[in-house]
């Protein structure tokens, strides 16, 4: 579905110090800096895969998505999307893909979203019967009944994002590029959007490439992740592998039925990440975990026990720290 070989994208950016003198000087002499937004990145994505694209701000994620969508021309390297060169923006490709960004929208600002849906139906030449079926499905799944006839400018951010997704899917694209689709949304709206993306991808066997700073998006949607940092690919593989490789220790949370003194807690389980008389959180490696948990169950009034990986945000922070970057 997607093949990227040695992709390089450099920008030439004008820089100048603040102040009037610098502004005047820049009218006849300009200093430019070359920003290596993407630097020799290679990967392939198979049809139907859902892949997360992770990295700190300015890592090159959005630039790569824009190259794949045909908006940016690479400085060098070879990119094929559905076997086609996105630089030439062939109609066949544009009819099969969609890029949804949380920051830029295609909805017509002064008209109700249903007008954008109708426009897309005409532009993508979707048959009326197919359009009616797709819209029924989208309106139901995204709960849009009360929104589609109001002017877009009068919708909340979350409502607009849901309508934006619907507008992007009128032509049932086989390949979805999602750039921060849940940015600025509240927790419940994030969850709705996330569930919808997963459901759409499953039902239409659509390929999804997603960037997000919300690790819940990544954990819920994309088993495979590509990690990019300062333009270079630093990881390509299973999310679980990334977590185990970066933070092999497990977090064990113990809840007690009666208060436990700190000395007793230290004696039975050793060091804790955090503790109170009625609960304790330990971070221990997989090998030692069985023994420590057995000792806790035997020597402490444990009423509940939870074992989990470290939060993904912490894992990623550690990952970038280990790679010498900064998230």
């Amino acid at each position: 579905m997607i093949s990227v070989q040695h992709l390089v994208k450099h920008y030439r950016v004008h820089e100048r110090p603040p102040g009037l003198l610098a502004a005047l000087r820049s009218t006849w002499k300009r200093d430019f800096q070359t920003v290596r937004a993407v630097d020799d990145v290679s990967f392939t994505i198979e049809p139907g895969e859902r892949v997360g694209f992770l990295g700190p701000n300015g890592a090159g994620k959005t630039t790569t998505l824009k190259v794949l969508a045909g908006l940016l021309h690479p400085t060098s390297g070879e990119v094929r999307v559905m076997g086609l060169d996105p630089r030439t923006r062939p109609t066949e490709l544009l009819r099969s893909i969609m890029l949804v960004t949380g920051q830029k929208q295609q909805l017509l600002w002064d008209l109700p979203p249903v007008e954008t849906f109708e426009l897309n139906r005409a532009i993508y030449e979707v048959a009326r019967a197919d359009y009616a079926r797709t819209m029924d499905e989208l309106v139901t799944l995204l709960k849009l009944e009360d929104l589609v006839k109001k002017p877009t400018r009068q919708l909340s951010l979350g409502e607009r994002m849901k309508c934006e997704l619907a507008a992007a899917l009128v032509h049932s694209p086989k390949l979805l590029f999602l750039d921060e689709p849940t940015i600025g949304l509240d927790v419940s709206m994030q969850s709705v959007v996330r569930a919808f993306i997963k459901s759409y991808s499953d039902r239409h066997k659509a390929t999804v490439l997603l960037t997000s700073h919300y690790m819940e998006d990544v954990a819920a949607l994309t088993p495979r992740v590509l990690v990019i940092d300062r333009g270079k690919m630093t990881f390509d593989g299973d999310l679980g592998v990334l977590v185990r490789k970066t933070r092999p220790d497990k977090l064990v949370t113990l809840s007690f039925g009666a208060p436990v003194l700190p000395e007793r807690l230290a004696e039975v389980v050793g060091l804790t990440v955090e503790s109170s008389p009625l609960h304790a959180v330990l971070e221990i490696d997989a090998v030692a975990m069985k023994k420590v948990v057995a000792r806790a169950l035997e020597g402490l009034p444990v009423i509940d026990l939870k074992v989990e990986d470290a939060p993904l945000e912490e894992v990623m922070a550690d990952f970038f720290a280990q790679k010498g970057g900064g998230a």
């Binding site: 969508a69 021309h73 830029k104 002064d110 005409a122 030449e125 921060e180």
Partner: protein, 277 residues
Amino acid sequence: MTAALTALPRRSFVRTGGIVAALARIAFAAAIAYRSQFIVWILATNTPLVMLALWSSVAREAPFGHFGERAFVAYFLLTLIVRLLTGTWVVWEMNLEIKDGTLSQRLLRPVHPFLVYAVDNLAGIPLRVLVSLPVAVVVVATVARAELTSDPLMWLAAPFAVLGAWLISFSAMLAIGSLGLFWESSIALWDLWFSFYFVFSGYLFPLELFPRWLLRWVAVSPFPYTLSFPVETMLGMTSRADVLSGLAKQYAYGVGFLVLALWLWRRGLVRYAAYGG
């Protein structure tokens, strides 16, 4: 030229017609939504009325060249109509969209942005006709009736001359707007174009009032064909042969600017930075 034109989507006429109809319907709905802005724009196009008042008072004392008071009234009312029908603003839209990255949304759709810009612009014409039609009726029914041509062939040519004037203005704007992909902003170049347009299109005064030596130079530029030519056609100020050769020059300029715009657009997209999300 062939390469540039083949970049346009290859689809059947009927399918393109369906897309154009949908774009026009949406653009018209948007024009209505922006009705207050539209009215302000209409009011801002009142320069010909100011010039009418000015030149009429000058001609009241004595005719100015071939122009008496009535001729000036007819000239400037027709100027207002042609200006209302052929005015475009796409260069500002293009510059803004290039700068803030909104252009990306257009590029993602399988329809050439030039076609969308053109339909957006033309969809505003029905509203402009609402304004210009009463003016036209006033012209025909009152003072200036005698000044209009009675030659039916001139009236046959007039709509083509108005369309040609729009084509030159719109294509030149597309070409200058496409330069926004190379420069940080190409608005300044449009301002330069517009300053020439103001003087050499016949917007401020009839070109006949220019000295002959200057008129010869102005005649080879595109500016007279953006306004003065259709107005003079309706006033019967040119011969049939001159109208035909004028139409040929007008469409040559229009197509020439369109080809230039497509060429600049294709090269400019390589440099497009798609900033802003």
